[in-house]
């Protein structure tokens, strides 16, 4: 593990590292914010999963989360959104919504993607093990959140691992990859044409089988250009109702898909996680 950057921020430390990922077969960067409370002992940690085209840095520079994390005593880990590097295949058509920057937090089963695109295992297992080993975070008090593709990642990962995560939140998540063009392209590519396999990475399908109940908070802007075609919040609302799985799903009037939306509500999301982790 190699340190790429360190910046003092709100009396805590914003750090960036690269490391060789076994699971992904490439070198990966990730960022971690350690709040001032981490000087005195282990703190709970929230994993943040970013959306299409992002790296680990977008959230770190744009969300303004450090202020709240420093107040609440939360570490925040931000991984990259896909494997990276020369040997990693990318969308042949150069699309922003598949390949590099668009790992969708799944384990690919189809060639040539299956060699590197194992973002589910990376986020659920490899990275948390590294983080718990190297930093003063409490691996038993873990929340997860994300935006858009990362909101889909946070919801599906938490629903599949209710013992690993104590809280989950999402901003403008892709609620059902089975039912939107982004999902069709990504899951069709990474998992192949058999749509049954996609259900393992679809929040609405996973809800129907969920045994445990986690606290869930979702914010969605009603001026979000992707709401109707891609995100489809109503599918999550319907599925949680049908599964009798309580969720707080809020429509925020006038907000769009940008980091200005995330910045406006990240404080409430982190307070929600801190309430579950402290």
């Amino acid at each position: 593990m190699q340190q790429l950057a360190e910046n003092k921020c709100f009396d805590g430390r914003q750090l960036r590292y690269s490391h060789a990922s076994k699971v992904l077969g490439c070198v990966m960067n990730f960022s971690i914010f350690l709040p001032p409370q981490a000087r005195d002992g282990k703190v709970p940690v929230v994993y943040w999963l970013s959306g299409l085209t992002c790296t680990d840095e977008n959230f770190v520079t744009k969300a303004g989360a450090q202020r709240y994390a420093a107040e609440l005593g939360l570490a925040i880990v931000a991984p990259d959104t896909s494997p990276r590097g020369e040997g990693v295949p990318d969308d042949a058509e150069g699309g922003y919504d598949f390949g590099l920057g668009a790992g969708f937090y799944v384990n690919a089963t189809q060639a040539p993607w299956s060699r590197h695109y194992q973002m589910y295992d990376y986020v659920v297992r490899e990275l948390p093990a590294l983080v718990a080993d190297q930093f003063p975070v409490d691996d038993k008090r873990v929340g997860i959140s994300g935006h858009s593709m990362g909101g889909h990642g946070a919801l599906t990962i938490a629903l599949k691992n209710p013992g690993r995560f104590r809280s989950v939140s999402a901003f403008a998540p892709i609620c059902s990859p089975l039912n939107c063009p982004w999902g069709e392209k990504a899951l069709g590519g990474y998992l192949g044409p058999d749509r049954e396999a996609w259900r393992a990475y679809d929040s609405t399908a996973l809800l129907a089988q969920a045994s445990e109940r986690l606290p869930v908070l979702v914010d969605q802007g009603d001026a979000d250009n992707f709401l109707q075609e891609q995100l489809k919040t109503h599918l999550l609302q319907e599925a949680s109702g049908a599964a009798d799985y309580p969720m707080t799903i809020r429509m925020q009037p006038g907000y769009d898909h940008s980091y200005f939306f995330i910045a406006s509500f990240i404080g409430e999301h982190l307070a929600f996680h801190a309430g579950c982790l402290y």
Copy 2:
């Protein structure tokens, strides 16, 4: 004036515009945040001047200022850092510290710079007149702040115009262009070799002649790589002492020159301005 972007943020509006600047002889972009209080009437405004290489967007996306501005009821205007466009000359050597992105908030007197590089007049007169005409801001309650080159800009502009501005603050300002390599290159280029002319844009020189006293707040990180060679906070401390001009100048242990430093203290700076403007 043409709107380029609008994003709801902390219940206010983050806006971006382009307009044809007469003073600069080119099309310029600027950003303005209007807090929710601006729906009910005019609000005070803080001008933010960015540092070398920045545009109007860096502060808007990285500083996390909107949260505080929305709480305090402040508009924030962020201009670009130099004239822009095809006809605007740039540093022949491609340096980041002169020409495009490096206007230094002066009125250039030397060819070929004098044709476009009139950032002082743009920031002091042309842009505020446009803003006061087009937005619900109170042109009698105006503060100014900035970072690095923009901290130099904020201090010099406020010292030269104590009737226009009621408060001034700076992050890691270039305290004396007369006494650092960045200043030598920029003022030498824009104003020519006669160093007497530079004194009109040097905070330490201006302090000696200041008649009125404005509230001044300066924050400087002591882990800032530019502190010793370029910023030289001690020159500002000495000049304010010699001029009997009270200033709050704080050394912040462990902080560097980045936006993580600005984000950590922008709330205190905006509260300082609000205290002077409300």
